[in-house]
Amino acid sequence: MNSKMRWAAVAATSALALGAVAGCSGGSGEGGEDGDVTIVWWHNATGEPLSGFWEDVAAEFEEDHPGVTIEVTGYQNEELQRTLIPNQLRTGSGLDLYQQWGAGELAAQVQAGYVMDVSDQLAEEVEALGGVVAPWQYEESTYGLPYNFGIEGFWYNTELFAEAGIDEPPSTLDELYEAIDKLKAADITPIAVGAGDGWPAAHYWYNFALKSCSPEVLQAAQAELTWDDPCFVEAGELLAEFIDSDPFQEGFLATSAQQGAGSSAGMLATGEAAMELMGHWNPGVMGGILQEETGDEDATPPEFLGWFNFPAIDGAAGDPTAALGGGDGFSCSAWAPPECAELLAYISSVDVQTRFGESGAGVPVTPGSEPGVEDENLQLVLGGLRDASYVQLWFDTAYGPTVGGALNDAIVQMFGDQGSPQDIVDAMSGAAATL
């Protein structure tokens, strides 16, 4: 190698390194020549049936819209929510349609100017959806549409209930306590909870708060992020009492919610525990765990599953038919091409939503798509949702990650026998002060 060549090599290497540092842009968005448009779409489905379903939806949309290419990718949920989407939004390009959990997080993204306002373009869809779209709205404007919304309840093992001599699923808290005692007497672990993940334990407090506080108080708390009403402390007292009845599996503080047979969902799926308080996605999670554990790709959620709503509490201020729930949606980024909103509308169409219901992956939200829900348990969830006079979004989603994280952490402390009902309220107020 002579000197000149050597210099050229050095320069080339430096340029490469510089490129690696400065580059990394590129990607999607506003199409190229000839009206060609690429839509980059990120969702949280990493397993079947949902990931294949979204690919089909993308392919159908491409077929109906010549010149549109959709790059659809599924990422692990937490990774997507906490790292990938915020980082990509900050770059101001490269992402068009993305998973949107709504409420607190949506508000932060809208304030930063990252989300497309689809109020006008999708006015028809928004009106059809009705109240369920609220978490995807901010200050009267709509920034996304849900495709899946369900409420939480106890998933239970009907066979174990029969074995313990419980004839009817509990409808009041006292009946729930009775059921717990009967299960314990039959040497069955009454409830599995994935407290290691935080939020599954926190959902108990959420439900007690829902039953202790009136909808007006809950809405005011969410809007102002203040929790002065004594009902929030009362929720903690109810939770402390519930934990004292010792209904959970051994070592629940380290149990995860959804990973493998040792998780709380796995325990319910394999008959190790009789109940689990969980969202409407639970049968799907259990099916996935059984597929992994048995190696049988066609394994389905267990036959013995039943579902009942979180029991009412006599004399509590909360609306007895109120339900706690949450859902999934999609938003378009502020820089996405207009076709993105069309894709959003297509996802929300009765046809796609009906097939989404048929896939068993969730509960569709577009009116007219209900017949797609074939699973009996999801029909129960759908019925509960229809009967609910008030639906409260998961508190951690509603309050946003900062307050929600502090809330979940404080509730888990109570599960570990540390901290008082007042501490939970203080943790939320403390976190809200750092916003």
Partner: protein
């Protein structure tokens, strides 16, 4: 250009031909350019991926920022005040320091002892050495998950203990806040002891056989030889291992994250897991950056003090002075 004898590796020693004195000046300049040319790619990467992120984290740490939108809420040192008044962060800091101390006090002597044993001639020595090093070669995630699967209540490890004759109630290895930290430390020891032993063995190889012979001739026992000759001469190795161990313990993340995620009830939280938990998990990038800066300075200060006070003699000659 002339001077093809100047190769990259030997820039310093290449002597210019004495025949052309006026050109002499230009050569160092060209050498400098050459050095910069070769160093530039590495420097660019280093500045771009190490220095710049550190500086950015320092900047973020003075803001209340959720990671979205512009940096426009300057709050001075509030994030630092908050970190040092948060019992969870202080607990994490305490956990880090406990792990540093325990590693030095427990893993060090254990590794030296095992290395001394393995340094003697015995059948299957190579096999034993390999086996001891295996945990270190395993990926953290694989090892962490394996322990997670083994340690739940009534899991394989408890079954194993029962088969050994312990029929009573076992501790909840990962679920009891009073036990989980010790479980974590045991797993860390299992994971990193192999590296310490290999380092010590390498150090032992460097001790001349003659010294042992001389000692034996003088009538020294095996114990005396180890205490008076082997261990003092192992000093440089021990000091380097201790340095690696301290820094590793301060920045501990992966094993904790996989094994316990910092739980139960923050019992195994370290500064690094706390940083990710709060900064990433709760969208408090500004506050998380402040924790990162604290972690950086704690590590830096300890590393510098250690280098000055302990490694000074070992490093002598390794660092070239300019000129």
């Amino acid at each position: 250009m002339a001077a093809p004898e100047v190769t990259a590796g030997r820039v310093q020693v290449a002597r210019p031909a004495p025949a052309a004195p006026p050109r002499r000046r230009r050569r160092p300049l060209r050498d400098t350019a050459l050095v910069w040319g070769f160093a530039a790619p590495a420097l660019v990467v280093y500045i771009g991926f190490v220095i710049l992120p550190v500086v950015l984290a320092a900047v973020f740490s003075f803001f209340n920022w959720n990671g979205l939108g512009p940096l426009d809420r300057f709050i001075g040192l509030d994030n630092y005040v908050r970190a040092f008044s948060d019992p969870v962060f202080l607990g994490a800091l305490r956990n880090n320091i406990t792990i540093v101390v325990l590693s030095l006090v427990i893993q060090g002597p254990l590794a030296i002892g095992i290395a001394l044993l393995l340094n003697r001639r015995l059948r299957g020595r190579t096999l034993i050495r390999t086996l001891i090093f295996v945990p270190y070669v395993l990926s953290e995630v694989v090892a962490g998950l394996a322990f997670r699967l083994m340690l739940p209540p009534g899991g394989p490890f408890d079954t194993f203990l029962t088969s050994l004759g312990w029929t009573g109630t076992k501790p909840q290895w990962l679920a009891d806040p009073d036990v989980a930290f010790w479980t974590l430390f045991a797993v860390l020891t299992w994971k990193y002891l192999g590296l310490a032993i290999i380092l010590m063995l390498a150090g032992l190889q460097g001790i001349p056989e003659e010294l042992h012979e001389a000692a034996a001739l003088d009538g020294a026992s095996w114990w005396q030889t180890q205490l008076r000759i082997t261990i003092p001469l192992l000093g440089p190795t021990v000091r380097i291992w201790a340095f690696l161990s301290i820094i590793g313990s301060l920045q501990l993340f992966d094993m904790v994250w996989i094994l316990t995620g910092g739980g139960p009830l923050n019992a195994t939280q370290t500064m690094a897991t706390y940083m990710v938990d709060i900064g990433n998990g709760r969208s408090q990038i500004g506050f998380g950056s402040a924790v990162a800066v604290i972690l950086f300075f704690v590590s830096l200060v300890i590393a510098l003090i250690y280098q000055r006070a302990v490694l000074r003699r070992d490093m002598a000659g390794a660092v070239t002075r300019g000129g």
